[in-house]
Amino acid sequence: MKQDSPMMQHLKHAAAWCDHRLGISEVWLPMMRHPVPKSVEGPMGWWYVFGSASLTFLMIQILTGIGLAMVYVPSASEAYESLLYLDYEQPLGWFLRALHYYAGSGMVVMVLVHMTQVFLQGAYKYPRELTWVVGVFLLLCVLGMFFSGQILRWDPDAYWGLAVAGSMAGRVPFLGPVIVHTLLGGDIIGGESLSRFFTLHVFVIPGALLGLLAVHLWLVLRCGVSKPPRPGESVDPRTYDAEYEQELKNGVPFLGEAMVKDMLFSALATIVVVLIASILGPKGPTDPPLPTMGGANPRPEWPFLWIFAMLALSPRDVETFIMLVFPVVVIVILVLVPFVSNRGERSPSRRPVAVLVVIVTYTALGVLTYLGATAPWSPKMHAWTGDAIPVSMVERSNVSELVGSTVFQYKNCRNCHALDGIGGRRGPDLTDVGTRLTRDQLIDQVSNGTPGGGLMPAFGKQITPAEMTILVDFLVSLRPEGTKPAGWATPEPSLGEAPPQAAASTDDRDET
């Protein structure tokens, strides 16, 4: 046997010294080699990769976050400019921002997929209840990171996001003002608010997240990886531990195929995120942070669009409930899941209620997120000057209808009402309104708005009689070529010549 060189001997000695002090081969290696159920090696093992992918994204977030923090200036006067510097001047600064955004989004997706898998396969049942509960709080931390991260962009989305968060918090009984003051660092949104959210995003929430993550990982080691479920194998807390111990006797070390699966999937997820980041680029910042800008069109980040839609579509009376009670109810339900059902079947094929809950929840979230993204209830502030009247309408209009359509634009009708699908969506599309409402009904609707203080404001005091006449000429003309206006009565032969009612009702204006 060849003798090691003195240099090699020294190195080996130093390594042994470190190993002895750190306990790597005594504690850490056995931990990495801890046995997992044998069937994890099979195709079912691919269900177990989402947690580690979330962890991989967390690592990317920490690294890119450190990079960003070196350039970002958390001050109200410079934050926005420092992001523009990253986007347009700092070499690859834009990529750092894009990766931070999409890896963060990926983390939310992976955490949700991971939780859904654990829920569907009943992996939260005895003895892994606490692992699930800690996971719920980890999800809250990840969402907290997303929200506080959006605020750091300090653009109109951030400013108004903060305004909404502040006014939501202000509705908490008794403690509202104190919470708002603590959150914003004052009574109004200002530089202090940005410092608060920077602290939350960089120290407080990551600290909590890493702490909870340590507990979560320890629980995974302590309780072991759940066996992939099979129909008919049910969990009974009285016998589970012995069964699981037996299972592990035939188990395989984690530091083997299971880890290879984790690494392969994490690598794939990372490649996907890097590609998305380099193709789509950084998110925002949008317009400069000017709270006075009337045309601002703020939106919350995608994980919150569903609640944005829910708030916008609910009656005013239930707003406070949705803001304050509903989230608490959701969190409590999530926390209670493993306590409500911690025994019995684990396979999704034997748990139709669980499958149904997942389908209904994701359908509702999907629909609400779509609505939140399109936000048809928001007026389109530039439609009146920026969205042209469709050429087909202009070409078929007479002079009054032409001028009527300029009154339509001038009075900002277009900001809420689309023509041929273009314009605001808050009110109905008026492309065919001439077939639905008579001249009198149109005048009443424009003058008085929606009865009972509904969506449409009353324009009666902001419009001259001449403008009203001409505007309604245009509205009555909005109908397919060759159709009669609404309320047009066909003369019955037995009654002789009945006058057309719509045309004669208010005046003698040309309806043809």
């Binding site: 834009w94 002079v399 001028v403 009666g460």
Partner: protein
């Protein structure tokens, strides 16, 4: 073997070189750098956001008079364009765009639009000298009976074939509808009337002051005085009693 190594090496070098010059689609384009509304100085963007709603995409085929109109751009004085965009036209749907009048634009942006209209769309083939002057004689509504009478004669010659003998509309040809409507005329200034008579609506088929489409065979281009007489006639219809057409507002308390 060596040959293959050289080939692979060259291919690798080429790929690396291409990689260095490659810009990923996600890299922000400096042209998209966010600006405050006041920082926008690009004519196309300003026009699209502020004018197309009424004047149409590309300045024509909108309900309001086209701005992309060679005769209009040949005769309209620069100062008039600046003034109308800044202050709007009182009583008509043309709003004031200056920020000091609660409009959305800064003065230099208004200047960019006013100057940009001619830069973009003015034709060098048309000479202002051969066209009637833009500015109307009577900006206010005061007109003499003599003007109105002269106007009626011009109307019969130049307008009646499409607009009816008294501007009540005609079913022939295009669909111009009724133009003797006091409500309609109250929303159009004398200056706009003169401009439309001179330029017509080339995008919608209304002939200019000089074209004889749909007009009698012996039609001669209108003179500046004749155009003013027509404006006087139309202005006099503005003051007619309304034929029961006026809307009574029904504002609920």
């Amino acid at each position: 073997m060596r040959h293959a190594a050289v080939t692979y090496g060259a291919a690798l070098a080429a790929m690396l070189a291409a990689g260095c010059g490659y810009t990923p689609p996600g890299k922000p384009n400096p042209a998209d750098r966010p600006r405050t509304p006041a920082q926008i100085t690009d004519f196309d963007f300003l026009f699209q956001q502020n004018c197309t709603g009424c004047h149409g995409d590309d300045g024509k085929f909108g309900p309001a008079p086209p701005l992309n109109d060679p005769i209009f751009l040949a005769i309209v004085p620069d100062a008039e364009l600046l003034d109308v965009i800044t202050n709007g036209r009182d009583g008509t749907p043309m709003p004031a765009f200056a920020r000091r009048l609660e409009g959305p634009l800064e003065e230099d942006q208004i200047k960019i639009i006013a100057e940009g209209l001619k830069k973009h769309w003015k034709s060098s083939k048309l000479s202002e000298d051969k066209l009637p002057p833009y500015t109307v004689a009577a900006k206010d509504e005061a007109t003499s009976t003599a003007d109105t009478e002269a106007g009626k004669k011009v109307f019969a010659r130049a307008c009646a074939s499409c607009h009816g003998d008294n501007g009540q509309g005609s079913s022939e040809g295009h669909k111009p509808g009724r133009i003797n409507d006091p409500d309609l005329l109250s929303l159009m200034s004398n200056q706009t009337l003169r401009r439309i008579i001179i330029t017509g609506r080339p995008d919608l088929g209304m002939p200019s002051f000089a074209e004889d489409d749909g007009r009698p065979g012996d039609y001669q281009p209108l003179t500046s005085e004749e155009i003013d007489a027509l404006v006087a006639l139309l202005a006099s219809w503005r003051n007619q009693p309304r034929s029961g057409a006026t809307v009574t507002l029904n504002v609920r308390k």
